[in-house]
């Protein structure tokens, strides 16, 4: 009994020392975990904007992509510093439905009313949505609706009257 207690005590000290050293090292080296994902685990990309960049940047999330998860990720915005959401503030998803390989997603009116405008911003928003959702198996094209209605355009450049395919040109040279 005595020995067991002593061993337990020693083990406790040992654990405390190890933890303490780890904390100390992390503090000293400012070691930031490079990746949010464990090796070997499944992951999927969600596309966000980067300041000043004409391209979309992927942020990888653990798990397998499905519509609800990807839309939630888009609404939440990026976790990595340096990235910016592609959706304007206050947007909500009203609903979505899939017909064949086309996904129809209806957003609240904020997608338009809170959007800054400009063709580059419109491209980043539209293809942030389309490129992220077409990562899901079985979805080839996405049509964006506002308040359940089909729209001509979001901010006056891209024709949104039909489903859109994924845009590879916005994925940056390293991605292709």
């Amino acid at each position: 009994m005595k020995w067991e207690r002593r061993i337990a005590g020693l083990l406790l000290i040992l654990i405390l020392l190890l933890v303490g050293r780890g904390v100390w090292k992390v503090y000293q080296g400012r070691m930031v975990p490079v990746s949010l994902i464990e090796e070997g685990a499944p992951y999927y990309p969600v596309y966000f904007a980067a300041a000043d960049s004409a391209h979309l940047e992927p942020e990888f999330r653990p798990g397998t992509a499905d519509v609800a998860a990807v839309l939630k990720d888009l609404l939440e915005g990026p976790r990595l510093p340096g990235l910016a959401p592609v959706l304007p503030p206050d947007v909500s998803v009203l609903g979505y439905t899939q017909r064949g390989s086309v996904l129809y997603v209806s957003f609240s009116h904020h997608l338009r009313s809170n959007h800054p405008g400009g063709s580059r911003a419109e491209m980043l928003t539209v293809y942030g949505i389309v490129n992220s959702l077409t990562e899901i198996a079985g979805i080839e094209r996405v049509q964006i609706l506002i308040e359940y209605e089909q729209i001509d355009t979001l901010t006056g450049h891209i024709d949104l009257g039909k489903p859109l395919e994924r845009d590879y040109s916005l994925l940056g040279s390293t991605m292709i």
Binding site: G20, G29, S119, R120, A121, T153, G156, S169
Partner: protein
Amino acid sequence: MKRVAAAVLLITFLLLLLAASSLAVERLFVGGIEVELEEPLEIVSGVILVPTWLLEKHFGGTVQISDSRITAAFADQTILMRLGEKSALVDGESHKLDVAPQRRGNEVLLPLRFFADRLGFQLVLEEDGKVLRLQKPSQVRERASLFERLRQETSWAEEPEPVEPVEETAQGLSDIVYMGGARSRVFIDLQSYTGYQTNLLTDPPRLILDLYGVEGGPLPVVEVDDSLLIRIRSSRFDEETIRLVFDLNAASGYKVTPWADRGLEVEFNHMLYAAGLRERDGFIELWLEASHPPSIEAIYLEDPQRLVLDLQDTTLLASVRELPAGYERISRLRMQQHSPEVTRLVLELAGPVTMLPLQEAGPGRYVIPLFQGTAQEAQRMFDLDDFEPVISPDFSDDTKPVFGPQRGEDGEGILRGVIVAIDPGHGGSDPGTIGYHGSFEKDINLAISFFLGKLLKEAGAEVVYTRDTDVYVSIFERPEIAVRAGADLFISIHANSHIKRGTARGTETLYRANDLVSQRLAQLVQAELVQAITLVDRRIWGRDDLAIFNGSTIPAVLVEVGFLDHPDEEVLLRAEGFQQIAAEGIYNGIERFILEYFGKGEGQ
């Protein structure tokens, strides 16, 4: 049972020993250079304390101590502390310290981390805390990945294997080639390396380039002795590292470019030794002493009026950074190293000033005459034909454009017979994007469109506007208007915005994807526009999803002149002078395109 306990005891003891040993830093590296330490650095409550001389010698600061006040001055900031007090004052802002500065004998010890943080260094402890490296973030990453790799590859044997004298192998440094040129280019020929790290040091000025993962021996010294580079030395720094030292005449900015197949190239910036203003023959001149004729990008900004000259690939060596000028229209000259590659000169103005072309005034001496007036006035005064003012504010409304194309006599324009559809983006209930200060894109689009239309008409072309008032026209209707009018070209004028507002700047042109003719039109318009307004070139983009392109088959482009959500560019986009110059840039692109595709305008 006893044995188990003994083993546990032993392990605990060893771990304790290890933990204890991590509390003394025996070797310190600052930016890859080892600091000579007479005794290990003291650690108090987990904070490493360093003597003041270390900050002075290795961080380029000056530390003064009077009574209990400690004043540490660095190039870009001054840090105030007091002995025994756990707070520091930087630029009027108070910061908390974990450990107060304290006295040890004759020395004053200061908390290293705080200074490292302020100066942008990261602390990396290696080898169980015996070795401390202070590095800039980019170096940390390279270094860390190297250590990761080493950790995986080597089994950390008890004794390091002795370095075998290696004969010249393929993996080693095979050559250092001085290629010369105005930027003292040097090619480092080596088969492979795992990373590199650079450090520019002063006293004496030298660039250190450490190449990791390189075997083999060093090469003989390469004597260069040009205006900047004296010689290149190489040495084996440690088992993994070859160190190159470039001895310099001045601490110049540099660029390292890894070549795709092998080796890397080092080139140095041009240098600006001095600059100033003087009056000669009734002219005010900006004079420059530089190692090379500077390549200048100039831009005129308002509120307050100033002329900004960016000298590309140039390091500023001038000791004076600010000169009051006291001329009627130029009140001050400021100089700064704007980025590692760009030296920026700013002329603070009190009225329009036009830059005339750069002239050489002897070896290493250059002057830029500054005309105190608008470009038109300069033009009239000098009667210059091929004169291209670099920048000029304040265009008056009715004068003919100054640097448009040459026009035929009597309205016999070279674009006669061409019909151009101009599409001012948005309008009416659709304001387009809203500027940083609240201006509407639709108004700017219309203004630039009118300037463009005027230029096209003057050159003999016929112009059709998809809207010429503040009215809403749908994006599907716009190409129809052009087609109905029999237009040959469709030019849409817009101003841009980024989803992260205020972060982007520059000019982009969109064109109908998979249409080589539209692509060529976009290329020419983009090139001429960027040259005219000198904003960032964000290149051309083929799009197959824009309604205005899909409604017709005529060559079609959408010009995003600048980013209205960026405060600086909004100021430009609102200025009539800038709108006029932008229109001229777009016009020049259209003119080049028409001459290329249709030959002479009338004979299409």
